[in-house]
């Protein structure tokens, strides 16, 4: 095998630019992002964490149907979202609310899904953020399609897709990596390896040296990064986006991180993991790490961001305090571009409206007691 091919393999240890103690490693793989970017990353993580905590609290109060927390994974999500250029696309999962908020989507629109009002609350075209995806790994293919279409249309846009360690086991991930490589599509796969798929630990998910070792099997260059180091994540994703945009094809990035909360509010993590494992990861907190680095390296107003985060939380409490009205007529309106005759009848039935023509039943008038 030639050296060139071996270059597709990830490094043995994860790329880390700032260590858990908040000290720059100078490891030479990537340049440390500039101060402005590091501050932006810090801000996004602080705001994201406050958002997450507030949503978790709202969920406990019963204001949301379900919420999968991002806590602990802020570096992956902020690092990825901020690496995107405006014209790039983000394909998040249910776990990635902090990435979506970082990208600029209104937090309340993000929560439309978790509150149970509608499946997706924002316009995917506005910020180029696909709906948060629940069926695992399926969004990897959508991202490849968007990226390939961009190439065909000679548009300078890269698609970045987030997925979990568990999702890498699904067939769709394989097909997406392969299509991307064969088509040289400008797409970046970012695996947030948080050690668990609900209750299932990584060693029951894979026997590979690392998930990033899958890349070479598709001819895709792969990178292993410390997923609690926002600088490293940002640098790696930015580099991959730049390369993809320049025609270099797809990239696979595995970010090692940890899910501090249970899988969702409905999950009981004590059934499958020990508290001291969580404690160990709290030591490697991504937010504190960057705070220490920034404090030690110059002007840095942490308090300002805390205030901003509190403002966002307060806004959320207010705006989520009342239930948004949901309209039953929406049930029938978006199934097709225009409702079919049958749906128009069902809508009339359900809403107790007069039936406007169409099928009637022999031998009696339509209607009955009306269905609520």
């Amino acid at each position: 095998m030639t050296e060139g091919w071996l270059g597709l393999l990830p490094s043995e240890g994860p790329v880390r630019l700032i260590d858990a103690a908040g000290v720059a490693t100078g490891d030479g793989t990537y340049e440390l992002p500039d101060h402005e970017t590091l501050v932006a990353l810090y801000r996004a993580m602080v705001v994201g964490r406050r958002f997450d905590a507030q949503v978790t609290a709202l969920t406990r109060q019963g204001r949301l149907a379900v919420y999968p927390s991002s806590r602990g994974q802020e570096a992956c999500q902020a690092g990825t979202a901020l690496a995107l250029r405006p014209q790039d696309w983000l394909f998040p999962t249910y776990r990635d609310s902090v990435a979506v908020v970082t990208r600029g989507v209104d937090p309340v629109d993000v929560l439309v899904n978790f509150r149970g009002d509608w499946h997706c609350g924002y316009d995917p075209y506005e910020h180029r953020v696909a709906p948060q995806c629940t069926p695992l790994a399926t969004n990897t293919l959508h991202a490849v399609g968007v990226a390939h279409a961009a190439r065909l249309r000679r548009e300078d846009a890269v698609a970045v897709v987030l997925l979990g360690d568990g999702a890498t086991s699904e067939g769709d991930t394989h097909e997406a990596l392969n299509f991307a490589a064969v088509w040289k599509a400008p797409v970046v796969f970012v695996v947030q390896n948080n050690g668990y798929a609900i209750s299932v630990p990584l060693h029951r998910q894979t026997a590979a040296p690392s998930l990033a070792h899958k890349g070479i099997g598709y001819g895709i260059p792969s990178t292993l990064v410390d997923g609690n180091d926002a600088a490293a994540v940002h640098a790696a994703v930015s580099g991959a986006i730049a390369s993809a945009a320049a025609g270099g094809g797809p990239a696979l990035i595995e970010a090692l991180t940890y899910r501090i909360e249970a899988h969702t509010n409905a999950d009981d993590a004590s059934r499958y993991r020990q508290d001291d494992e969580v404690a160990g990861w709290l030591e490697r907190d991504p937010v504190r790490r960057l705070a220490v680095f920034l404090s030690s390296s110059g002007v840095f107003d942490a308090a300002g961001f805390d205030a901003e985060a509190e403002g966002l939380a307060a806004g959320l409490r207010t705006r989520m305090g009342t239930d948004a009205p949901v309209s039953p007529s929406h049930l029938f309106e978006y199934v097709y571009a225009r409702p079919t005759a049958a749906l128009a009848r069902q809508r009339a039935d359900a809403l107790d409206l007069p039936v406007g023509g169409g099928a009637t039943m022999d031998g009696q008038e339509p209607g009955g007691r009306g269905i609520r």
Binding site: D117, A197, Q205, D268, A350
Partner: protein, 345 residues
């Protein structure tokens, strides 16, 4: 591993305190694992976690990780490897975490699970149970509430069953595990926590049989899984309105128990089918079509269907607009062309 040939009936959990459907299914799995060493249970999070609905709670600890274990996260992989295991002497019971997450396994289910016995002229049987929590009513977000029964009932070679109560859940699951045919076992999520005081036993109707759960004279209401309770509620309310509803719990969706159901419909002369799935090409279409074929001259009115609308399953806040309730069942009953009012009224 030796082959255990005891009949399912020999290992039974005797319970005389209230047990939920999830609990009853859990006992059925435990008893099945106990009764037959060939039975294995695997899937996503079915091990230490005990499944997201706790149906496999405690089984990994009790039987060890060679009998009950967490697989990697891939549904086609789960069903595909179960097929291989069954080819090699095991009797796998696998779990799909939610209805819509069984779709990645659709090819393995349709092209292999359903067909292997046929393909090999009966030489290779696949005694596999695919457990699928299905249906809505629990405030779940999209992909967590599909009623996917027709995808399976239309596929020849599969048995498809669903349970409405703890005692029947226990019995059906034991029977499913003992069946030589592959069984799609649909568990109505919103009844998981319904409790019943029962003596868990495998006696009762067989795997392919429907049962009349409430006798009545005016209309046959045909339901299954989550809507049996809805039908019973309609019967209770309907009673006050002068309708005497007979409620049939189909239990077996494939095959369909023509004998029990046509007997009922010939008696009442009217029928309503109730399910959560979309009506269009839904299971109710088959029920209505075959009963009309068989009972045409006994029918005073067309068989009506009370179903979910022809839409993707709605978000939590709108699901109760979508799900058939007792009111909609009674509305259909009232539209059954009663020239002189209900017979017993």
């Amino acid at each position: 591993m030796s082959t255990v040939t005891e009949r399912a009936g020999q290992v039974n959990s005797a319970v005389h305190q209230p047990v939920s459907l999830a609990g009853a299914l859990n006992r059925a799995l435990g008893d099945a694992l106990e009764a037959d060493e060939r039975v294995v249970v695997f899937g996503e999070d079915v091990g230490p976690l005990g499944g997201v609905f706790r149906v496999t709670d405690g089984l990994a600890a009790r039987f060890g990780s060679d009998r009950v274990w967490d697989s990697p996260l891939a549904e086609s992989g789960i069903v595909g490897t179960a097929i291989g295991m069954a080819m090699n002497g095991l009797r796998p019971v696998v779990e799909m975490q939610f209805d819509a997450f069984a779709y990645p396994a659709f090819e393995q289910i349709t092209s292999h699970l359903a067909k292997m016995h046929n393909r090999t002229r009966g030489r290779v049987g696949l005694p596999i149970v695919v457990r699928i929590p299905y249906g809505g009513g629990i405030g779940g977000v999209e992909h967590h509430c599909d009623s996917s029964e027709v995808y399976y009932t239309h596929t020849a070679g599969l048995r498809v069953v669903t349970c409405a109560t703890p005692s029947d859940g226990y019995r059906l699951l034991r029977q499913a595990v003992d069946s030589p045919d592959p069984v799609i076992f649909l568990e109505p999520k919103r009844r998981y926590w319904s409790k019943e005081t029962i003596d868990l036993a495998v006696e009762g109707p067989e795997l392919h049989q429907a049962r009349v759960v409430r006798p009545g004279t005016d209309v046959t209401v045909i339901a299954y899984g989550g809507t049996v309770e809805t039908a019973l509620e309609a019967a209770r309310i309907g009673h006050d309105e002068g309708y005497d509803l007979e409620v049939v719990d189909l239990r077996s969706l494939s095959p369909f128990d023509d004998e029990t159901v046509t007997a009922s419909v010939r008696r009442t002369g009217r029928a309503v089918v109730v399910h959560e799935a979309a009506g269009f090409c839904g299971y109710g279409a088959e029920v209505a079509a075959r009963l009309t074929e068989q009972c045409f001259h006994s029918l005073a009115a067309p068989i009506l269907r009370v179903t979910g609308y022809d839409i993707p399953y709605p978000p939590p806040k709108l699901e109760h607009q979508h799900l058939p309730d007792a009111d909609r069942v009674l509305d259909a009953v009232s539209r059954l062309q009663w020239e002189e009012g209900p017979r017993h009224g």
